[in-house]
Amino acid sequence: MNSHSISPLRIRALVIKETWHIMRDWQTLIIIIALPVLMMFLYGYALTLDISDLPVLIEDPSGSSVVRDIGRNIDASQTFKVLGYVYSANNVEEVFKTWHVKAIFRFAPDFDKDVRNGGTPAPIQVLIDGTDPNQGTLIRNLAEPLMQKAAFGILGIKPQASINVVPDVLYNPEQKSSLFFVPGLMAIILIMIPAMLTSLTLTREKELGTLEQLLISPLKPIEIIIGKILAYVAIAAIDGGLMLFVGQVWFGVSCAGNYAFLILSCLVYILVSLALGLIFSTVAKTQQQAMLLVIPITMLSTIMLSGFIFPIASMPQALQWLANIMPATYFLLLIRGIMLKGVGIVELWQPLCILSGMGFLFLILSIRNLKAKL
């Protein structure tokens, strides 16, 4: 494309037209601006991934004092909360269903005798509600060491020489969940909003028949795309800025790294999203269809596959490949690297290059698709 073939004047006219469209539909505009902020508060207050006070029940047919001691130890741990002691729980499934407990610790009738006499270890059965695998795994891993320690303490046995683990959590030493969800939400919003807006505005023009009018006007496809994109870059930038601001002021998430690099990464990511929106709009005929493409491809896959909540390393191989073609995966590396770790271009040039490459590729594809309409 020659340089003189793009006219700034024509693009300006298109930007003004697009801005009018946006301003006229102010309800949508409010949703777009308010949504990210509301989501931040929602995540901020609902998202606690640490597990504590799981209700458990203790079955103790003998009513022995040793069991009570162990029970107090269980209750004192942060993870469990003892709801009560029962004499016997015959139908354990019913107990789980009616009491809503997460585990039942079952002691044998002669537990007291066994544990004092020694020789053979006294058995304790731990029944775990495994429906939520996360909680189930945690209970399984915690139950044994907890009760061993309690039993050792009660019997006055000194534990054997052991290895202490001294953990040093980098980047997020207090394990604040805000440091975790603010970058993640930015990854969701900044891909979803621009893709949705561009694809919807273009399909609306299609539905109304005004896209044909634009295409037969002196405007070139690339000018239409630039004009359409600019207004939405601005909206996305406002969203991004607002989220950074609220994150900083309300949730105390400050950027450890370079702001300029952060802004550059956000802009590249927004561009990828806009280009995706353009591609959707060339495929879909109606706004409804565009929407049904946008939600699964941008929002859901970003939440599920980018490593925001579910770690990529734990997924099956095929999905790890899929995760590797998600723009959000690379943006999350970038934004977490910059905001939390404070690292720069030296460590992060790779994801930045991949993200830029994706944006470039999608843009070329969308321009070619739009040209084919002519």
Binding site: P121, D132, P133
Partner: protein, 375 residues
């Protein structure tokens, strides 16, 4: 009655006239069920780890071998300098670095306690906590094995030294498979999404085209109009539920222990809410775009506060109270309980009743706003 059938007929004609729409109703959702079904494992596996071994003794090398053959970790490498660990953490190549101090081998060989140092990438608070837990269990197993070895060489049995034996039994989901927990919940979300979205869009489309006014001036009463509008989507919703559960049971091999009749009845209660919200959104909004935004917005709240991946018990008290108005929360609990625990009407009547109340309330508000608009 005849006019309702005509309306239903008309609605199906609309759906049939848009073949892409029909495909979009089923395929992306099915694809999602598969992709997400495999993606949402909350288990933490293959955590990349690197080790600095300043001790370099048989004991420390033994420990490293323990880590190498543990499937919870992916062993990236052994370095000689702690700074390498920091760089690798910065780049995101590893999530955990283990530093074994110089005196580790000597202390452990002399049966004294020793420390090891972990450097953990804390950017993902959840998985780093889990990884520390795994590391603790690997290390305690390692030291227990050593103690057992030493005792054995002295002719003693470790069993006699341990006062208790803990045997865990995992119920309802014995392999602790996260697909068993997440897929049924996903079905609950997808059903609300599809039924709410389709209802809302079908009404607002008539508003956009001006045919809504035409329908209102016909002899059809507003109630008949609403019933005629939603019955096709109830049918689609039921078909989708059956299809999704077929996939869950046949492909993901999730057990169906409970009462199918209870599930069906509760599903109808549930759809009252989702369809009602769809109608309500179409009354507030003027364009399809606004309906989409509104529904999407409401759904995000419902999903976040449903216990889908954040357990409700962990939320602050006032957030827990807010979730009592969330139909998704109750149906998710019901579906998980019926499938995995074999729950029946008797176990679930509280949740079912709550859902029925929410459904009636939402539907009544939707209906009255529809009638207000019609008159």
């Amino acid at each position: 009655m005849r006019s309702i059938f005509t309306l239903i007929w008309k609605e199906f004609a609309h759906i049939k006239a848009d073949p892409l729409m029909v495909r979009l109703i089923f395929f992306p959702v099915l694809v999602q069920l598969f992709v997400i079904g495999y993606a949402i494992t909350t288990d933490v596996k293959n955590t990349p780890i690197a080790v600095v071994d300043y001790s370099n003794t048989p004991v420390s090398r033994d420990l490293i071998t323990h880590l190498k053959y543990n499937e919870l970790f992916r062993f990236v490498g052994l370095t000689t300098d702690e700074r390498h660990i920091t760089t690798m953490l910065d780049k995101g190549e590893i999530r955990v670095g283990l530093v074994i101090p110089p005196d580790f081998g000597l202390k452990i060989s002399n049966n004294k306690s020793s420390s090891v140092y972990l450097r953990i990438d804390g950017e993902d608070a959840n998985s780093s906590q889990v990884a520390v837990g795994y590391m603790n269990s690997v290390l305690s197993r390692f030291s227990l094995d050593r103690v057992a070895l030493i005792l054995k060489s002295q002719g003693m049995n470790i069993e006699s030294q341990i006062p208790i034996k803990v045997s865990p039994v995992v119920m309802f989901n014995p392999r602790l498979d996260s697909t068993w927990y997440m897929i049924p919940a996903l079905v609950v979300i997808l059903v609300a999404l599809i039924t709410g979205l389709l209802t809302g869009l079908s009404i607002v489309k008539e508003k956009e085209k001006g045919t809504f006014e035409q329908l209102l001036v016909t002899p059809i009463t507003p109630i008949q109009l609403v019933v005629g509008k939603i019955i096709p989507f109830v049918i689609i919703g039921v078909i989708e539920i059956v299809a999704f559960f077929a996939v869950s049971l046949l492909w993901f091999r999730i057990p169906f222990k409970g009462d199918p009749v209870a599930l069906f009845v509760f599903a109808i209660f549930y759809m009252m809410s989702s369809l009602g919200i769809g109608i309500l959104a179409s009354m507030i909004a003027r364009t399809s775009q606004q309906v989409l935004f509104l529904l999407w917005f409401i759904l995000i709240f419902f999903i976040m506060l449903s216990g889908f991946f954040i357990p409700i018990e962990n939320m602050p008290g006032w957030v827990q109270i807010v979730t009592a108005a969330n139909p998704v929360r109750f149906f998710m609990f019901i579906v998980r309980s019926i499938l995995l625990k074999g729950a029946t009407f008797v176990d679930l009547w509280r949740e079912g009743l709550a859902m029925l109340f929410i459904g009636i309330a939402v539907f009544w508000i939707a209906l009255s706003s529809f009638q207000r608009r019609a008159s």
